[in-house]
Structure formats: C-alpha cells, structure tokens
Symmetry: C2
Amino acid sequence: MQSKILIKNACVLTMEKEEILKDQNIYILNNKIFHVGKEIQNFNPTYVIDAKKNLVMPGLINTHTHVAMTLLRNYVDDVNLEDWLFNYVFPIEDELTQKDIYYGALVGILEMIASGTTTFLDMYFFEDMAAKAAQKLKMRAFLGYGIAKNDLEARIIKTSNFFAKYEKNKLINPIVAPHAIYTNNDKSLQIAKELQEKFDALLTIHLNESRSEVENSLKEHNLTPVQKVDQFNLVNSKSIVAHAVHLNAKDIQTIKKNDATLVHNPISNLKLNSGIMDLLNLQNEGINITLGTDGAASNNTLDMFETIKIASLLSKYKNNTPIGIKAFDILKMATVNAAKALQMENELGKIQKGFLADLIIVDINNPAHKPQNNIINSLVYSTSKGDVLTTIVNGKVLYEDRKFKIIEQEQIEKILNQVEKIIKRVSKKIQKN
Amino acid sequence: MQSKILIKNACVLTMEKEEILKDQNIYILNNKIFHVGKEIQNFNPTYVIDAKKNLVMPGLINTHTHVAMTLLRNYVDDVNLEDWLFNYVFPIEDELTQKDIYYGALVGILEMIASGTTTFLDMYFFEDMAAKAAQKLKMRAFLGYGIAKNDLEARIIKTSNFFAKYEKNKLINPIVAPHAIYTNNDKSLQIAKELQEKFDALLTIHLNESRSEVENSLKEHNLTPVQKVDQFNLVNSKSIVAHAVHLNAKDIQTIKKNDATLVHNPISNLKLNSGIMDLLNLQNEGINITLGTDGAASNNTLDMFETIKIASLLSKYKNNTPIGIKAFDILKMATVNAAKALQMENELGKIQKGFLADLIIVDINNPAHKPQNNIINSLVYSTSKGDVLTTIVNGKVLYEDRKFKIIEQEQIEKILNQVEKIIKRVSKKIQKN
C-alpha cells in the first residue's frame, strides 16, 4: 500500500529561500515530497499530522560522527587528549564486540532522531553494525570502515564487502574512510584513493584537526596533512574533510580548487582543545562547509541544534565581530550544504516537490520562541533538541510529538539497559589490564 | 493545610558532595526540604512525585538577566553592538509600557521554569512588573530598578518604594542596581552606595563587559570601570558584578579583596562579541563566580543548561587546555556559588534538610544520557532544557513532567499571543519614527 502523509497547518522553511511560508500543507507520497502549498490537494492521506503552526524544515544532516562511541559518552572528560585516547578510548575500543557496536549505534541513532537529525555520516570499525542499527531505526546513513595502515588487507576486504552488501540499499550508503594522516601511510592512502575510484564513492577523512597533528605531519612529510593526502588526490569534490581547524593559505587553496567539503565540529574541537575553525573566512572563500557533532565521547551529545548555535557564536568570536555568519547560512550548513557534500543536492536538504521526505517539525510556539520576531534566527539561537516534535526520514515517521514511533518503549528500555551492561563489562576488563 | 510532597525513587545530586545518591526519597514540608534519604518516613504526603530514577538537583540560579527583554528575542541579531542598542533596543524600550514589561517578564519566567531555573536576578525598568510576573508564576527573584544618571531622582524613588513594598515578601527580593559605569556619574554611583547601605541590600552592576567600555573609562576617569566604582565602595561582599570579561590584575585583586561575586555570561559575551571571561584563572584566584544568561535579546534563550555547557567549553579554549573547569565546579556556579552571592548559602543551592525546596528533576534516562557513565558530567555536557521534567520553587510544583502546573494552557496561550501583539505594535511605531 502507498504511504500518503499530509502535514497540515505548518509554517515551512524550505531552505530554498530565506523565508518562512505560513499555512502550508505538505503532502508526502511514499518516500518523497509530493507537494507543498497553501491549497488543499485531492490526496486521501493515509496519515495526517497537524503541525499546529509549528515549523517544518528539512531534517538536519550530521556530516561527522562516530555513532557507536555513544558507549563512551561522559566516560572520561576534562583530561588531556593523549590521556583520553591512549588510556581510555583505545583500550575500551579493543574490548568492544560487534554486538556492543550495534547497541552503541542504536542509542546514538535514537538520540539523533529525537534531536532532529535525519542523516548522518559515520566512520568507525564494525560499520556493518552501524548499518544494521540504522536500518532497524530507518535512519539514512553514510558509513565507512576506517582505513588505516594497520591490518590494511582486512580493512580493504571489509570496505569492499560493505560496498557490495549495500550497493542498492536506499538508506545505507557506503563511503571510503581513511582515518587520518597519522594512522595511515602512503600505501594505505593510495589504497583509499583506489577504493574511492573503484566504487565512485564519497570519501571522508580527519585532517588538520589539532596543531600537533599539523606539526607532526610537517616534521615527517614536510607537508601539512591536507598537502600530504593531496598527493594521492584524496582532496576532491567527493571528499568530506572533518575538522580542518588549522589550515594554511595553501591548504585552503587546495580545498577550494578541488571543491572538497569541510566539516566544522565546533563542540568537539573546543572540548578536546583543538581550536576554532575559521568558519567565516572559509565560507567567504566559497568552500562548501557542513556541520558535525563528532562522537558523543568528545561532545557529549549528537545534538545538531546545539552545534548550530555554537558554530554561529564562535564565528563571531573568531573574527572579532558581532556579525559573523548569518543565521540562514548556518542552517544551510546543516541542510543544503550537507546535501551537496553527499552529492544529493537534488534530493535532500530542502522541502521541495520531488525531494526525499526527510523533514522535522520544530515547536516554535513554546515560550522559548516567543515572540516570534524572526523564526530563522530562532532556529539558530533559541532552539534546542527539546523543541523537536517530529522526525520523518524517507517518508517514514520515526518520532512524533516527542515520542518514538519506530520502536516500542519496551525495546528502547532494553537497548538502554544493554549499553549500561556493556560499559560495565568493558570497564571491569580494562581496570584489570 | 500543610503541603507535604514526597519525591520518591530519585537519584540525587545534593551539591554538598560530588556524588550521586541513588534510591532516595525527598520529603518537602511546605516550602522546605524536610528530609532526604533512603529510608521511608512516616510522612503522609499530600502529593507524590515518582522520579523514576531520574535526577533531583537544586534548581538553577540565573544571576544575570533582563527578563522582560524576552520581548526583543531574535528581533535583531548579527549586527554591530551600537547598531543593536541605538537603532533597535533603545527605541523599542522607549515605547514599552508597564503592561508590556509584565507580559515580557511572564514569557521569560515561563521559559526559565521549563528549563530548570528556580531563581533569577534581574535589572531593568518597571521592575514592579517583573515582581508581579514572578509572583504570579511563584518564581523566586532578585530584582533591581536600573540606576543611572538620567532621571536620577525618579530612580531613587522607584528603588526606595520597591524596597518598601517587597520588604517581607518571600519570593521577591529587591536589590540595588546601578546600570553601568557609562550610564552613571559620581553622584548616581554615590546614591547607589547609599541605597545599598540604607537597605543593607545586594547590589548588581555591569562592569568591564567590553573592551571599549574599559578603554572609554580609562580615557574619562583614568580608571577601569572596576576601579572607578570601587571609589564608591560598590565592589563589596554584597556586589554581584556582571560580565567582567576584561579585567586587569588590579581589578582582580580589588574583586578578590572585597569578596565580590562575578557573573559569567558566556553566550551573551560571544553573541555581542564582548570576549571570553578568564573563568579558570578567576576561579583559581578564589573569586566567587556564578552564571547568567543575560537577556534573551543577546543570547537568545534564558536556558541555564546551555550556559553551563558553553561556560565549560570556553574555559578550555581560553586557557588552551582540554582540562578546564571541572564539571562539578561549573554546576556549583549555577547553584551553591549563586546562593552564596545571594547571601542565602544556608538556605538555597543544595538539596539538604532545612533548605528551601527549590529543586528540579532532570530526565537522565533518555538516550542522550546513556550510558550513564558519569551523571555529573552528563549534566554539564549532555543535558539541555528538554531534559528538565519538573521544577519546584519554594515547595510549589510549577512544572511537572514537562507541563506547566502553575498556570493553565489557555492562559499561557493568551500571554504568548499578547507578546506577539506588543512587538508588532512597537515595531510599527518605531518604523514610523
């Protein structure tokens, strides 16, 4: 049977224009937006949602996270980066099973759904488990097995199998994911490029995140991380470069010339003391910029509205101006710019006829949004995850009126109990070691 | 009749110790905490709240805001400070009536209640209207009429009458509020000190907020704003100094020596490009530091959990360390330090027998808090206003299970409609001028 959803009585921010449309009806036929407008269509919906004058906008796209790291949320904070990685993160990761990753991913995806994210891009190990979790919760995902010099052969096989398995999947999109400059060598970077070409795929990589990463790369290669991976043509129009906090003029020109996307992760960058990306200047260079939360272990949420606000505030600080990035431009980073990065600019990131029905309803009628002097600014400065009422992905209602629809409460409780058990087991194990 | 509330099945962060107590019962007799513990008391509660293993903690104390400025939320953003003040804020404020201020304050207080704030400190004009709004919604408030050199006589009368009127009120606490150095002169600063002494009152003032304010003060007085007001003994143990972004070593010593409190307003300071307070060093100096949202016109929320997270993140950036302020210390700023600033450290800011029953219940069992690796860190890094379930002020349940209890939904809608009308009327008027 066809699914025919009508969302009535909505304000709409299409992200096509910097404008709020009032009294709109949105018709969703199966997984696509069929019509948006004031007029009533002869549609016979199978499901009706009354938006009650709340705001419908494209779902948020989180272009950098490690969803299963949700297991390590608040596990250790306020410590030195090396201490964090070597004494906590890596030892714990060594103990995690495929099943653990599955449960970690489920919790992270639940959090994303409830905070208005409809697509995420992820790099980790056991990505098959992230794919399984995303499919269970009907979430759109771009997933890549981390590629590194260690166990390279196994990683190539995993990546290749992953592409084969999800070739025709509507929600799961495999990508190539060389981890970073410091975990790869020439051979593995070359392999990453070959895999990208073989599968004509998107690629993501961490680059120029911390000052020490750049310094070490200069020492070792006499090149910045961006310049080093550019030797292998890894900075290209299908590249999604995470962090890019410390870029020199040549790095910026390389990214610009090759039309790569940069992902700003402002919270993780502050929390791990990596620094603040120069968002305004990079935007002025015409570079496509998107937003990410990074993993919940270094944030400690997967809440894109929080990232939106902090990105906006930091752009002012970084450039010593109260003006900074315009609110609408920040929202573009979380929607249309991200769709462009994912090469889905004609399908995703806008509320428009023929586009995929990935959208959210935001409560703009509670006291925190009143008076509604400027709804676009309110989305950037006054909205937090608690304002997300409804989340629809690929035409399916995952969350409505602040309740999960895709999964029973009882099942959620089982998942949440399961992650508590996992982290207890793993903690005990690493304390012994 | 006595009010006897039992909150059962709670995790508790008392703020006395850095520790989460499990399986607790909290007994509230009238407006005070009667008992906290595992054991069942013979209490015969008149009202029972099942916390369902969620977290009870002291309500948050917002020590700097201008609640009626909620009317200007998102009215104009991303513009230069002078443009903002002179072309928007001041012309609008000139048009606001007492009734407008009342409605603006109601909306702001509703937002605060729903985001876990139980006490706020405010400076504005028509503070009688803020007092009326706080009383209607049963909110605890410290309110001061702004004192400035213009219309000084009228301001003195307003302040004096305000003290007389609320002398014995349990929720409304008048304070003395000289606005800032640039809106006062020697005479009005002297008057402010006399009023503070006359009423043995708390005093609040904006000081050293922006670089230009400090520069202008140095030019005009050959003294920083802190040094200038110190000539009138306005920096004392009952002073609550808002902002303090740009302090020199002598300013810091003055504040320290006189045991004044500093209010950190990280979001407003970023949004208006004032800078970042050096929180970590000021804490290390032993200065009492609290948190504020500032007004919704420069934030654009009154959400203390957002301020808590951003304060923590910025402390790392400012001091170039991933360590920064400890999560528990940030929470102290929003609770016990604030209670100390308000000279209520033996009544407010902790969950403890005999303390006022100002407390909140935070949902720590949704996916965004799981696994619960460290609940204290989760309150700082993973909590947002949507996690606030219940807010109790002075033993009265104002908000429960994410619904207002102190006011009917119909009345809320009237208030929200009213503020839309106010801002439309005022906008039309100032566009004509």
